[in-house]
Amino acid sequence: EPEVTQTPSHQVTQMGQEVILRCVPISNHLYFYWYRQILGQKVEFLVSFYNNEISEKSEIFDDQFSVERPDGSNFTLKIRSTKLEDSAMYFCASSARTGGRGEKLFFGSGTQLSVL
C-alpha cells in the first residue's frame, strides 16, 4: 500500500538553527499538509499546500516557517530559527483529489524534532 514517508525520523538541533524536514507524499496525490503534535497534546494543523502554493495556514505557521515542493516528489518544511517550543512530532500528510471536505488524509510516521 502506498504511504507517506518522512525523513529523518528524529532531528536534534540547537535553538536558533535552521531545520528542514522532508516528506515524500503518495505519488498521485495533489494536496500536501504539515501537522504537528507536541508531546501529550493534540495533533495541530500547520499548513496545506496545493499547486505550488499555500492554500491555508494556521496561526502557528508564522514567518519562521516555510514549505516547498522542490521537485515532483518531495515536500519540505523549513523552520528558519528554531525555538524551544518548536519541539514536537511533525507529521506530513497528503490527499488525492480536491483537498476539499471529505478527502481522506494519509499521514507519515513523523519526524520528532528536539530543540535544545
Binding site: K42, V43, G100
Partner: protein
C-alpha cells in the same frame, strides 16, 4: 522529570469485548468527520469516516455514529483485539468553502486492551 500536557482519557477493555470511544466536536458547520488510530511512535492511521448527511457508517469491525444535534461522534469497535490498543482521535473537517482539508483533532482516547 514531570510530564506536561493533556492526560488522555483511558478506556480499558477485555479482549473480545466491544469498545465505544466518544468524541465531542466543536464546529456545528463541520460536515466531515474521521477517526484516526495512532500507535506509539507512528502517525495517525485512518480508520473510518462519515459525512454529515449520514448518522451511521460501518466498516470492518468498526462503526461510527454521528449525532449532529449534540455534536457527538462515537467509534464502536467490535470484538476488541490487543492490536487495537492505541490512541484514537476524532477529527472534524473545517475546510473553508471546500478549498482545503484542514482537520481539527480531538484530544484523543487511549484504548488499552487487556488479554
Amino acid at each position: 522529570g514531570e510530564s506536561v500536557g493533556l492526560h488522555l482519557p483511558t478506556l480499558s477493555v477485555q479482549e473480545g469485548d466491544n469498545s465505544i470511544i466518544n468524541c465531542a466536536y466543536s464546529n456545528s458547520a463541520s460536515d466531515y468527520f474521521i477517526w484516526y488510530k495512532q500507535e506509539s511512535g507512528k502517525g495517525p492511521q485512518f480508520i473510518i469516516d462519515i459525512r454529515s448527511n449520514m448518522d451511521k457508517r460501518q466498516g470492518q469491525r468498526v462503526t461510527v455514529l454521528l449525532n449532529k444535534t449534540v455534536k457527538h461522534l462515537s467509534l464502536q469497535i467490535a470484538a476488541t483485539q490487543p492490536g487495537d490498543s492505541a490512541v484514537y482521535f476524532c477529527a472534524e473537517n473545517w475546510g473553508l468553502g471546500g478549498a482545503t482539508n484542514k482537520l481539527i483533532f480531538g484530544t484523543g482516547t487511549l484504548l488499552a486492551v487487556q488479554p
